[in-house]
């Protein structure tokens, strides 16, 4: 499907040009790309079970948003969340081990691809019911307000979630209760195989914010710098003024909905066209244009990251399976306040 790519609201072109920031964004996006490519390979080798949804193509939307957060800020995500977990600082080892169902995984092998979690990184989980996590994110936002601290919650979901009741309930109370939340819609144009314009009466998702008198923004989700700039603003308004917002990142997943999707509902030309605007290659070109990086640097970084991903597979392979005697572990929490 065709989409208008220009951001609807103009955002100031603040400088985001220091080499270390750009390199960090680049490395993070490349890590997600290489990690997901390896994940696909491991899935095809039956090392990974269940459903498996990849972030390939969406790296700018992920890194541009999450890199704007502090360590103590919270992220809620969906079942397509390997990249979000990595961007929030969880190691590739822990994520890959979870995909392998191992005890060393983020969720001790009990969650799998769709249920990564880390209390330490305040990555508050991958949720596999579309739209489920938005109301939950409101609770964490309320806890921040209740305690009077200055964290921010980022609630990330797909375009499909914005047609669900919980989306509207969550945006309503976020505004009503002044919760420090940035709602991020990763609009990859398809809810499974159904295009946005076949599922939503309003195809420019950012406009749904106006029903709640909330800031709504749309950004080119293939441009990591644009995403980062607008997210910086929205995070600041959440942190400083407890003004929630809805950010729509228009992007594309190069692969099917999940590993088992034959991808028959969209044309090969469309996929090619989006791949021509690849967020990682675009940032590399930008940095080369600024003379901040050379082709040799790019190759060296790729090799480093590829080794890191290989190491995560090795770690996952060598990690122990959960102990069958611990099947019932953690159904209930012990103790009382």
């Amino acid at each position: 499907m065709k989409v208008e790519q220009r951001p609807t609201s103009s955002t100031p072109e603040e400088a985001l040009d220091d080499k270390s920031t750009l390199l960090a964004l680049y490395r993070e996006m490349l890590l997600i790309r290489r990690f997901e490519e390896k994940t696909a390979e491991m899935y095809q080798r039956a090392q990974i079970g269940g459903f498996c949804h990849l972030n390939i193509g969406e790296e700018a939307s992920i890194v541009g948003t999450i890199s704007a957060l502090r360590k103590q800020d919270y992220v809620y995500s969906t079942y397509r969340e390997h990249g979000h977990a990595l961007a929030k600082g969880i190691t590739a080892n822990a994520v890959m081990a979870e995909l392998f169902g191992k005890e060393t995984g983020t969720s001790r092998g009990r969650g799998g691809s769709m249920h990564l979690f880390s209390q330490e990184h305040r990555f508050y989980g991958g949720y596999a019911i579309v739209g489920q996590a938005l109301p939950i994110a409101c609770g964490t936002g309320y806890a921040i307000t209740y305690k009077g601290t200055d964290e921010v919650v980022m609630s990330i979901f797909g375009d499909g979630a914005t047609n669900i009741g919980g989306f509207h309930e969550a945006l309503n109370v976020a505004k009503l209760w002044h919760l420090p939340i940035v709602f991020v819609c990763v609009n990859n144009l398809y809810g499974m195989g159904t295009a946005v314009n076949r599922a939503s009466a309003v195809t420019e998702i950012w406009k749904k914010a106006c029903a709640y008198d909330m800031t709504g923004e749309r950004v080119d989700g293939m441009d990591v710098l644009a995403v980062r700039r607008i997210t910086d603003q929205l995070v600041e308004q959440a942190r400083e003024r407890h003004e929630p917002s809805l950010l729509e990142c228009v992007t594309y997943r190069y692969r099917g909905h999940s590993m088992s999707d034959p991808d028959t509902y969209r044309g090969k030309d469309e996929i090619k066209e989006w791949q021509g605007r690849d967020p990682i290659l675009s940032l590399a070109d930008h940095m080369k244009g600024q003379k901040l990086i050379t082709d040799q640097d790019i190759q060296r970084i790729d090799e480093e990251i590829t080794r890191q991903v290989e190491a995560s597979v090795e770690f996952a392979e060598q990690s122990p399976e959960p102990d069958p005697r611990e099947l019932y572990r953690d159904v209930y929490a012990e103790g009382a306040a």
């Binding site: 919270y74 995984g105 983020t106 969720s107 001790r108 092998g109 009990r110 969650g111 249920h115 979690f117 880390s118 209390q119 508050y124 989980g125 949720y127 019911i129 489920q132 938005l134 109301p135 939950i136 994110a137 409101c138 609770g139 964490t140 936002g141 309320y142 806890a143 921040i144 209740y146 305690k147 009741g165 919980g166 309930e169 969550a170 309503n172 109370v173 009503l176 209760w177 572990r329 953690d330 159904v331 209930y332 929490a333 012990e334 103790g335 009382a336 306040a337």
Partner: protein, 326 residues
């Protein structure tokens, strides 16, 4: 010992726990300024203010979701859902989220929260305000489910539920809020996993909870006049289901009646009966008799409604039949 209604016992438990622990807060529809649909939260908003007694929109999904997200971030929310019928629109949050998050995140988080909600019929409220669904929740690993039927248990179990580190479904009953009884003052905790013999007897065991506990007690008083001695086990702890007092009682009476306000099929009585067959089959002199609501959506008409829900007469007739005294 002071005599309180269940309504006031619950109110006392909420107040005491809010005073005791700054992390405890309440949220729900009309629980604040309005003082609560059934007045359980009466006076708490005036005492504790907006921050700790949060009036919400009529939006059950975000009520439960807010409780979950706040619990994961360290608070102890107590959500009120005005009636259990309304929780259906938020079942995803209750079952797929609250109950399962700890396990599916490998123990990385806990969800210490309480959902208070009343069920029960008998008020001519028809098919969307009258049912009892505690069996639905008791089916789900990860939830704790309790349904007290006396003021002392209401207070003691609510205090325990608020302190528990798990999501607790605290099922109340619109028909018991005015039930009176002695309630210990101050620190009174009733465990969430212990059922309780509420009346000693030798001839027949009656398992009942919530409003049906009241019905069972009335029936037992009449049966006594006929020379039938009924023992009543209060099934206030449904998940985890404490069968110990039931099994002990069966060994004595050899006859069991289960009474629940919900439908019998796949119900609380079905589970109790199965456990008895597994654990004490040889002690039984007759099959377990299950009493429940007529398997119809609750009717509005007063006469139809009366016959749709179980009452004292059903228990009496069933007891006589079990003992061959028709």
């Amino acid at each position: 010992m002071p005599v309180l209604t269940i309504r006031d016992a619950l109110n006392q438990a909420l107040r005491e726990e809010m005073q005791r622990d700054e992390n405890v807060f309440l949220l729900g529809e009309d629980i604040g300024l309005y003082d609560g649909s059934f007045k359980v939260t009466r006076g708490l908003w005036k005492e504790f203010g907006d921050r700790r007694v949060l009036d919400t929109p009529i939006a059950e999904e975000v009520i439960i979701g807010t409780a979950i997200g706040a619990a994961m971030a360290g608070l102890r929310p107590v959500a009120e859902i005005m009636t259990v019928n309304f929780i259906m629109v938020a079942m995803d949050q209750v079952v797929n989220a609250a109950a399962h998050l700890r396990y599916m995140f490998g123990g990385g988080t806990a969800v210490p929260m309480v959902i208070r909600t009343p069920g029960g019929g008998g008020h001519q409220l028809g098919a969307q305000h009258s049912h009892s669904h505690e069996n639905w929740f008791a089916h789900v690993p990860g939830l704790k489910v309790v349904a007290p039927g006396t003021p002392a248990d209401a207070k003691g179990m609510l205090k325990s539920a608020i302190r528990d580190n798990n999501p607790v479904m605290f099922i109340e009953n619109e028909g018991t809020y005015a039930v009176k009884g002695e309630v210990p003052e101050g620190e009174h905790l009733v465990p969430l996993d212990q059922n309780d013999i509420k009346r000693q007897g030798n001839d027949v065991t009656i398992c009942a909870h919530s409003r049906m506990l009241v019905v069972a007690q009335e029936a037992a008083t009449e049966l006594e006049k006929e020379g039938i001695s009924a023992e009543i086990v209060d099934m206030r702890a449904l998940r985890p289901l404490d069968m110990t007092p039931v099994i002990e009682s069966v060994k004595k009476t050899s006859r069991v009646i289960t009474v629940e306000e919900g439908w019998r099929s796949f119900g609380v009585g079905s589970e109790i009966a199965s456990r008895i067959y597994e654990e004490a089959f040889d002690y039984l002199d007759a099959p377990v008799a299950r009493i429940g609501a007529a398997e119809v959506p609750a009717p509005y008409n007063k006469k139809l409604e009366k016959i749709a829900f179980p009452g004292k007469a059903d228990v009496i007739v069933t007891a006589r039949a079990l003992l061959g005294k028709n």
